[in-house]
């Protein structure tokens, strides 16, 4: 039996993002986001019987994150818990696990959460906020060859995409500029007040050439929580249900530097079949955007354009505000906040509900959300809808 429309996202909690030092660790942000999500849904902690967590880099890999959150929130008698790591594909995967468990009768109301706190408050005489440290290590031969930072894998993919398909730096820049325009309409975005032109993009420093600074995501403190429950129950809660119509994953196991592709074709096939939708039905697109090249390849992999034609496809600004295909309408991880897979998922919920304010797209019945982990290694797809 299909799970189409059987479950829904009923609550959304987003903490203040970015250089937010309200809590010294990920768990602190997690409890705040969970409280916000419960309030948003009009639920109490006693209504929860599932807790699923994707910890960021700083939660600590040696702790049972979902259980520490249950303890910290004093939640009793949980029937479903898991700490999951598919990188940026996790958030959508947590929602899938929640939906399947609810349909199977194993849980009724499940919190799915991401939290991270890589940024430390600035100290006198210290440069920066230390966010790079968590993402900049290297060992063994990588260190000997001077390969540092989390950006190198995607930079290799981008260089190869440029070589094989003639993709240009300005085409990647068009994605950064479009997402910044969306962020300028989103008061939650870290770059809400800072415009970005293609000249600014070209003049920004190289992080790992061919990737400029503005090809790369932010690093953020914060947490996002969504609450999944049955469609029936969601209809009785405070907010309009965001129905989960389709779900799928794809993890090809290939080397993306060679394939220049992700697991999206597989994940999309499963999710769109379940939802009974086609690409042309989609009103708003929320794609995982750790880098501009990730967006470009994901657009190709979902079939919005042919493989290799992502560059010309985005060059005319069609994915920005007022364009024909609204993509990453909150500014994404490039310009709003870096909450891994929760960034596209949270904006998808906001858009379906019609809570987008100045950035709300006029038609918002169907949204596709993607998650992506590692260097195009893992992929997850959700189709969200305003009606079941």
């Amino acid at each position: 039996m299909s799970l189409r429309g059987k479950t829904a996202i009923a609550g959304l909690g987003i903490t203040k993002m970015g250089k937010n030092y309200a809590h010294s660790n990920a768990l602190g942000f997690a409890t705040e986001a969970l409280e916000l999500a419960l309030a948003d849904a009009g639920l109490l902690r006693s209504d929860l019987d599932g807790v699923l967590v994707n910890p960021g880099l700083t939660w600590g890999s040696d702790v049972m994150a979902s259980y520490t959150l249950q303890q910290a929130m004093g939640i009793r008698n949980v029937r479903l818990t898991a700490t999951t790591n598919l990188g940026g594909a996790s958030a959508a995967a947590l929602v899938m696990h929640a939906a399947m468990a609810i349909d199977a009768g194993m849980a009724s109301t499940v919190a799915c959460l991401f939290a991270d706190a890589p940024l430390k408050p600035p100290r006198p005489n210290a440069k920066g906020t230390g966010g790079g440290a968590a993402y900049g290590f290297a060992r063994g031969l990588d260190a000997a060859y001077g390969l540092y930072g989390a950006n190198s894998g995607y930079a290799m993919v981008a260089q190869r995409h440029m070589h094989v398909y003639g993709t240009t730096s300005d085409q990647l820049g068009a994605i950064a500029v479009a997402e910044r325009k969306w962020a300028n309409l989103n008061p939650m975005a870290e770059f809400h007040r800072e415009p970005l032109t293609i000249e600014d993009y070209r003049n920004s420093r190289w992080v790992a050439e061919p990737l400029h600074l503005y090809d790369c995501c932010l690093v953020s403190n914060g947490a996002v929580c969504v609450i999944v429950t049955s469609a029936e129950r969601a209809r009785d809660l405070k907010k309009p249900p965001v129905y989960i119509l389709g779900m799928g994953q794809g993890h090809p196991g290939d080397d993306p530097v060679e394939t220049l592709s992700s697991g999206a074709p597989m994940a999309k096939q499963t999710a769109f079949k379940m939802a009974g939708v086609e690409l042309k039905d989609i009103d708003v697109v929320e794609f995982y955007d750790c880098y501009t090249i990730t967006v470009l390849i994901t657009l190709e992999d979902y079939g919005f354009c042919a493989k290799g034609e992502g560059g010309p496809f985005v060059a005319d600004g069609r994915i920005g505000p007022g364009g024909s295909l609204p993509v990453n309408t909150g500014g994404g991880q490039l310009s709003a906040y870096y909450m891994w897979g929760m960034t596209p998922l949270s904006e998808g919920v906001i858009q379906i509900r019609g809570e987008g304010g100045a950035r709300q797209v006029p038609k918002h019945d169907l949204c596709v959300v993607s998650g992506n982990g590692g260097v195009l290694w893992t992929h997850s797809t959700l189709v969200l809808g305003a009606s079941a």
């Binding site: 900049g136 290297a138 063994g140 031969l141 990588d142 260190a143 000997a144 060859y145 001077g146 390969l147 540092y148 930072g149 190198s152 930079a155 290799m156 993919v157 260089q159 190869r160 070589h163 094989v164 420093r205 190289w206 992080v207 790992a208 050439e209 061919p210 990737l211 080397d255 530097v257």
Partner: protein, 139 residues
């Protein structure tokens, strides 16, 4: 003033044959005894046929730049005098790909598909690090 040396890679048991061969100016990779697939870095199992039997085999050291990036930021002091420098995925003539540096050329003149040939940089008595130069330079 002594030159700051690159981080010396640890000679793990798995990598020892690689570094031993490098000391003699030879590039070797792991070869699956089951299906013949080449791989690097070394692993316990062949991901192609799951054979656990493998040996080390010399390769030509000739190949092409498959992809590359140019590093501008200094993460380790040894690279302060080297930025901008190129880190590349090299596709050897034998088909296997490995990470390395491309040296002896302005990094902005490097292109994907450019033919390259292995060379070695001595880091200490134990480690000769394989790197690649444009094949056109080779004597």
């Amino acid at each position: 003033m002594a030159e700051i040396v690159r981080p010396i890679p640890e000679i793990t048991p798995e990598l020892r044959p690689f570094f031993e061969a490098s000391k003699n100016g030879q590039l070797v990779v792991q070869k699956c005894n089951g299906c013949g697939a080449l791989r690097f870095p070394p692993r316990r199992l062949c991901a192609n046929c799951l054979s656990r039997e493998s040996s080390w085999t010399p390769v030509s050291g000739e190949g092409e730049v498959y992809s590359f990036i140019i590093m501008h930021r200094v993460y380790h002091p040894a690279f302060a005098t080297q930025v901008p420098y190129a880190v590349a995925t090299i596709k050897l003539k034998e088909g296997v790909r490995m990470l390395s540096n491309v040296i002896g050329i302005d990094p902005h003149a490097i292109r994907c598909g450019m033919p390259v040939r292995v060379c070695f940089e001595k880091l200490n008595d134990e480690v000769n690090l394989p790197m690649f130069r444009p094949a056109a330079d080779a004597a």
